[in-house]
Amino acid sequence: MSCSNLAPMWASSANPPHLDRFSPIAFFSALRLPSAGASTRRFRSATTISCGLRELRNRIDSVKNTQKITEAMKLVAAAKVRRAQEAVVNSRPFSETLVEVLYSLNERLQTEDVDVPLTRVRPVRKVALLVVTSDRGLCGGFNNGIIKKAEQRIAELSALGIAYTVISVGKKGGTYFQRRPYIPVDRFLEAGNLPTTKKAQAIADEVFSLFVSEEVDKVELLYTRFVSLVKSDPVIQTLLPLSPKGEICDANGVCVDAAEDEFFRLTTKEGKLTVERETVRIPTPSFSPIMEFEQDPVQILDALLPLYLNSQILRALQESLASEVSARMAAMSNATDNAVELKRTLAISYNRERQAKITGEILEIIAGADALS
């Protein structure tokens, strides 16, 4: 007996008003027409529920387990967003002091010609794209977004006839680019759980050596900016050459002053968790006029700019992590809701099956008793 047809028959028999639902005759006629029921699949949900009480019960159990896992993942991700925010807050003293120093130094150096390797602007023949993805999946459209942006940029660069190479950070980006051997990849790096200075340093070393040895003339950073708990934005930023003033420029040359630090903050508004982005103008007092430079100001700038590079890369990694974790939170929340819905549907059809089975047994008993009497 093909049980998959019973369920739709049972549902469709509920609809026509002339058939009394509890009349055994109606049910018998339903039992006798298994093949005709296949075409009338007027079941409420569009899914085909497989037959068999045991299978249904197994399915309900597995959905329940999956729901527990996705809910746990959602809570873990929510905790991680808070940690990511704390990491950004912890990195602020460094970047604030750095910007102060950069500004004061630039004031002193205004008349001089600054030629530091990291700021050298060359005609662009080759561009390095630093793409930041995640190590783990189950984060919704996060990795897709940034990879699509990377592909877009690659297409733009190819159209302009500029060669490119990719430095991929994160396992997901790694697997994507590995499957596409036509995209030259320089190095695969892993993102890890928490962005540390060591990791940022490793990436900075790579980028630094590529740029200084003149293998590439421009380095662009592609990461996902954390806008809010539900929205994140893949952006492209020009990492190298640095502007001596410490401006942050994006691929189109639109520059933002480094003294305007933008950072995100988790707060609660009306009892719900939200993210606010604040732009803070860092006060930039100049050096006291008697401040002596132990070395040549240009040498000092030479020492400062790698610091700036490191902090930029670290900030990008942190924001990327925050976006990844909030995307995972949203995806797992959706998954949990879907699991609840699926469990409900399965439970309903399980109960129907169970009742149908009981009714069938009762009818058999009645028929048997009838035959005997």
Partner: protein
């Protein structure tokens, strides 16, 4: 009069309290800073930062380059990375040094040589930080 020392790295504050004296490795040699030092700004090399605490004990920090600003009894050091010697595992630091040396000898081309050199200097600094003999004066 004590100095207020602040050691910052991109992801956290390593040190933020008062000290008696520090010895810093700069590109132009080592400099010692006592209270009421003249205000200077200097680039810091990959090397050791020795801190003399208020109880006359010396603490060593492996500093991976950066910048230092000294003025008005306030010292601010911005470092690429900094590790207090007590946080460094000697075995791991030694292994890292050996790996860095191997990488340097196997480096081809200008670019790899630059990277390998930097990595070697850092590994060496970490090992030195662990091995330094602490003395009390």
């Amino acid at each position: 009069m004590t100095l207020n020392l602040c050691v910052l790295t991109p992801n956290r504050i390593i040190w933020d309290s008062e000290v008696k004296e520090i010895i810093l490795s700069t590109n132009s040699g080592q400099i010692g800073v006592l209270p009421n030092h003249a205000p200077i700004a200097t680039a810091v090399d990959i090397g050791l930062l020795r801190i003399r605490l208020n109880n006359d004990q010396w603490l060593t920090v492996a500093l991976m380059g950066g910048f230092a600003r000294i003025g008005n009894n306030e010292i601010t050091i911005l470092g690429n990375d900094a590790e207090i010697s007590t946080d460094i595992d000697p075995q791991e630091a030694q292994q890292a040094l050996e790996i860095a040396e191997a990488n340097l000898s196997g480096a081809e081309g200008k670019r790899q040589a630059i990277e390998a050199n930097l990595a070697l200097r850092r590994a060496r600094t970490r090992v030195e930080a662990v091995n330094v003999i602490s003395y009390t004066s």
